[in-house]
């Protein structure tokens, strides 16, 4: 594997770290943070795909407009990703608060079974 694929490998590594943490988690808040880590891997992947050797940020303030710049679309997608992650984490934490209110614990194994 050439060094040109290192950023993609980093994305895979971060993804697996988050996945491992989420699967072995014994605390709901820990679980939410792990899902957050898992999602950050998409930032690395998106930015890596749009990278152009020698390119600058796609911002043309005070510079000539024909400057070589990296792909702005993946950066816009990443911005979307950050916002969605922040709100999803907030929603999941609210669910954790609710779970704690009902069961008095944040250990997923100790939570009572769902009753229909």
């Amino acid at each position: 594997m050439s060094p040109g694929f290192l950023p993609y490998a980093v994305a895979a590594f971060v993804f697996l770290c988050g996945l491992w943490g989420a699967a072995t988690s014994r605390h709901l808040v820990h679980l939410v943070i792990c899902i957050g880590v898992l999602q950050t891997s998409t930032y690395v992947l998106l930015l890596a795909i749009g990278q152009k050797a020698g390119g600058v940020a796609p911002v043309y303030y005070g510079v000539p407009h024909d400057l070589l710049a990296v792909d702005p679309v993946v950066q816009a997608l990443m911005l979307t990703d950050v916002v969605v992650e922040a709100t999803v984490v907030a929603l999941l934490l609210a669910l954790a608060v609710q779970a704690h209110k009902h069961a008095g614990t944040l250990d997923p194994d100790a939570l009572p079974r769902l009753k229909g």
Binding site: G55, P58, Y61, D71, T87
Partner: protein
Amino acid sequence: MRTALLAIGCAGLLALFLWGMTGLPPFGSYPGPYGDLLNSFAASERKATDVVSAVNFDYRAFDTLGEEFILFVSVAGAALLLRKIDEEKKDSKEDSESEDREPGRAPPPTSDATRAFGVALVGLTVVFGLYMISHGQTTPGGGFQGGVILATAPLSVYLSADARTFQRIAPRGLVEGAESLAAAAYVLFGLAAVVLGGEFLRNVTPLGEEEKMGSSGNIFWLNLAVGIEVASGFVLLRSVFIEETLQRRLREESK
């Protein structure tokens, strides 16, 4: 046993991941063409020197509408989950007194250092947040980033002043109203274009002069709407999370 199964699964996933990566262009050789095309004409066509903002609020403005509503719905969901239910209300007095602190262990009073730093921070964050929102089309920034910065100002107030001041500067009704109105403003901007005979979210405001505040037409105004929505959304989110503590602090202060 479970860990072993997980390890096998992760190893398989990693293998698939690495195999998939071999089909990607090597790092640093983005093949285009969308990004290159946008970079070549966005700045002159939309008078927006920050192409990322131009993509978010003009070329992909419809997606950002969806994103804005994800935010809106998440905040509404969190508020719904954390609301006080009637039966909880009755014994909430004893509940909140005993639930999250040891008896006889009152929280320490806010230190002078926190107060001084908080007061210094409030003005700075408000100005910086507004700057971020209003210059999203020229330099990196915009409604989402600026809105979050703006939302930290009431947080500094909460940390450095008393709960009463926090309620006075961010009353629930005002924050909820601002959030809903700003979310609606985005849609109304889109509909305005339809009324004027164009496509949904087509630019309807004057493009102005490049590199100036208020330029880029819709991009500026949509940033403004999103900034207000994000700021009030995050303030609302925070106040539903600290609701219990806030009520207790209010009771203690009125004693």
